[in-house]
């Protein structure tokens, strides 16, 4: 008798616990926007990325459905040790579920390991290195906006095909520059071109004249800029000063952001060809979003592609959580769900996340407008061509990602 009462009670208790789990699914989420908040990449990511993440949360409408979603932000100062320290603290102490943005490939690759170790979710938008979804891919990582493979196969390829068959590289001396130079060199060689020389410069170099003189002396048709942010703007500005373009050599800005063009000024930047996956003035949807975004930004700047990628990535992440019916706090499980759902948002359109974590969407070749063509303070780009996602990004057959060997 006693025994049956006991088992009855136990059964009730178990049923109650099970029901409790089913009914009170955990609907709390914490997202950490980790970026360069004050250095040379702060304008293309930084506070704007945090804002983009916040807007994604608001637009998801999950708050009205009882979800509690918090965003915190951190400054990795372009230093991998600081980036990983913040990431660890976020997972261990602050119970963060997902880390987003993380420009600077060196920091991004370091944080990649931490997120994997802690089984979090990592939606990278700011970093360029294609290693994130290739040699160093992780089941916890989604790489959203762009990568070095894509930049090499769009801008690089277009320039080689247009006759730019000899190249000299100005390369930022860290993971990103190395990856971009490697991927672009492969494209140049495959298309019958040749790299005649190159120089590696330290990150955040104010003066490029010595390097530009070497590039000039190399007589290469194309000077490839495998750098980003402030380094790229300084190079382009000083190249104009040294008469490089007038002398017949062409600059290839392999990676150029909206904020960089603003900083250089159209007078100097006009005519540059480059690739982005998002531009604020593409269609009504991107314009509407950018208007809302710019109103909230201190300098009224529309979003860069990095910030747009943060928005789109967080939106998709939250969609996956909603589809799961709650937050399982299990990175691999959430990322698998994200991969199983097609991506679609106002900024990047339709796309998908490949098994290696690479998000596929269109890439666009742009040219910087002449000052006379520009109608407003941020009207900078002319669309030259569209490359469909499956041609722009690494084909799965070429990927060395271990996740594909299952």
């Amino acid at each position: 008798m006693n025994k049956s009462i006991a088992s009855l009670l136990l059964g009730t208790a178990l049923a109650a616990t099970a029901a409790g789990v089913a009914f009170a699914q955990d609907k709390t989420v914490k997202i950490g926007a980790l970026s360069d908040q004050s250095g040379l990449y702060a304008d293309l990511g930084g506070p704007g990325s945090t804002l983009a993440a916040q807007m994604a949360v608001e637009d998801s409408g999950l708050a009205a459905k009882g979800w509690k979603i918090d965003i915190i932000s951190g400054d990795h100062q372009n230093k991998p040790d600081i980036g990983t320290a913040i990431a660890r603290q976020w997972f261990d102490v602050d119970k963060v579920d997902a880390i987003v943005d993380v420009p600077n490939s060196g920091v991004a690759l370091a944080v990649n390991n931490v997120v994997k170790e802690k089984n979090g979710v990592y939606i990278n938008s700011g970093a360029a290195t294609s290693d994130l979804t290739n040699a160093q891919c992780s089941p916890n990582t989604v790489h959203w906006t762009y990568d070095t493979y894509m930049l090499a196969h769009t801008t690089g390829q277009a320039l080689v095909k247009a006759g730019g068959d000899t190249w000299f590289f100005l390369t930022a001396d860290y993971a990103f520059g190395a990856a971009l130079e490697r991927d672009t060199t492969a494209v140049i060689n495959a298309n019958g071109g040749k790299v005649v020389g190159g120089v590696k410069h330290p990150l955040n170099t104010p003066d490029f004249s010595s390097f530009l003189l070497q590039a000039q002396a190399s007589k290469a048709k194309i000077i490839g800029l495998a750098n980003a942010g402030g380094d790229t703007t300084n190079t382009i500005k000083q190249a104009a000063e040294f008469g490089i373009v007038k002398g017949g050599q062409k600059l290839a800005a392999l990676l150029l952001f909206l904020t960089d063009v603003k900083a250089i000024g159209l007078e100097t930047a006009q005519g540059l060809n480059f690739t982005e996956t998002f531009y604020w003035d593409m269609n009504d949807k991107t314009r509407a979003f950018s208007k809302r975004f710019a109103e909230k930004m201190k300098n009224s700047a529309p979003p860069t592609m990095v910030q747009a990628g943060v928005y789109a990535g967080v939106r998709h992440y939250l969609k996956a959580l909603e589809a799961l019916g709650g937050n399982p706090h299990d990175g691999v499980k959430v990322v698998d769900k994200m991969k199983s759902m097609p991506t679609e948002d106002d900024l990047f359109g339709k796309g998908e996340i490949q098994p290696n974590g690479r998000t596929i969407h269109n890439a666009y070749l742009f040219e910087v407008k002449k000052p006379s063509e520009s109608k407003g303070p941020w009207d900078f780009y002319k669309l030259v061509g569209t490359v469909p996602g499956d041609q722009a990004f690494t084909p799965l057959s070429e990927s060395k990602c271990a996740l594909l060997k299952k």
């Binding site: 702060a42 304008d43 590696k200 003066d207 004249s209 390097f211 402030g230 500005k237 900083a263």
Partner: protein
């Protein structure tokens, strides 16, 4: 060989910025005994002032060369009157900490309003284009920077070392009580000297605006190198700073040619070597 000449010349151009900035630092340290860590921020303010003058007031580069140093110099004098003067007689460390704090605040405010990627400032029309020197293409503006800063450096040196005003100044730092007894207003002199040093920093800022981006952190990136220049040259020595500034620019330029990866660190390696051999710096006097 041609390339080498080109690198020497480019090095000289960067050296002019180092020289102008370290000169201002040396003047301030020599006369006020303050290690002015705000120097980079004031250099940045000079560049921004040129930008404001052009875009808000329609005032061109040539006037900016005169006005920006004066405006930023006045700002410097206000800093000296309201904050720095209370540090007289205290350890160097206090001045360093205070000016470092000022630099952080100034940079933070500019970054908050103007972002970090910078604003464009065009080369003035009269100085556009370049000359083919045979071994390199020299932008006229860069040639102008070298000549102009050399003239300013030598004029400052002359003012402090060879004129009566300079003599008063040097006397006032040696023995303020005695100089005051002669009826000279020492505090006002100190304020003006700080203003002069700050003005030199702002002048370097205006000169650099067309070459580099006008960015809130432009001074922060440069200031550590400039401090190394001052230390190598010997703290407070006017001619030492000028010569070391130009020389280090050249050495850095050569490093960019032979081993670019080390170009950001070569100055510090040199600093270590010099201090090991001569702790007072190349031209410094023993304390």
């Amino acid at each position: 060989m041609q390339a080498l000449y080109a690198q020497l010349l480019v090095g000289l151009i960067n050296g002019s910025f180092y020289a102008l900035l370290s000169l201002g630092l040396a003047v301030i340290f020599g006369m006020l005994n303050i290690i002015n860590f705000a120097h980079g921020a004031l250099y940045m303010m000079g560049a921004f002032m040129a930008y404001f003058l052009l875009n808000l007031g329609g005032i061109n580069y040539w006037w900016a060369l005169l006005l920006a140093p004066i405006i930023v110099g006045i700002f410097g004098m206000i800093l000296e009157r309201t904050m720095l003067q209370w540090l007289t007689g205290l350890d160097h460390l206090y001045g360093l900490l205070l000016t470092f704090g000022i630099a952080l605040i100034v940079q933070g405010v500019f970054q908050n309003y103007f972002g970090s990627s910078g604003l464009p400032y065009a080369i003035p029309d009269q100085l556009r284009g370049g000359m083919n020197l045979g071994f390199m293409f020299l932008p006229i503006y860069r040639g102008w920077v070298v000549i102009f800063s050399l003239v300013v450096c030598l004029a400052t040196w002359y003012l402090i070392e060879k004129t009566r005003l300079g003599a008063y100044l040097r006397a006032a730092t040696e023995n303020p009580t005695l100089v005051r007894a002669f009826g000279i207003n020492v505090p006002r002199m100190i304020t003006l000297t700080y203003g002069l040093g700050v003005g030199l920093a702002a002048l370097a800022g205006v000169l650099s605006a067309p070459i580099n981006q006008v960015r809130p952190l432009m001074g922060a990136d440069l200031i550590i190198v400039v401090f190394a220049v001052v230390v190598i040259g010997g703290m407070g020595s006017i001619m030492g700073s000028i010569i070391t500034g130009f020389a280090l620019g050249v050495i850095e330029g050569l490093t960019k040619y032979f081993y670019p990866e080390a170009s950001n660190t070569v100055v510090f390696v040199l600093m270590v070597l010099v201090l090991l051999v001569k702790p007072t710096g190349l031209t410094g006097r023993a304390a």
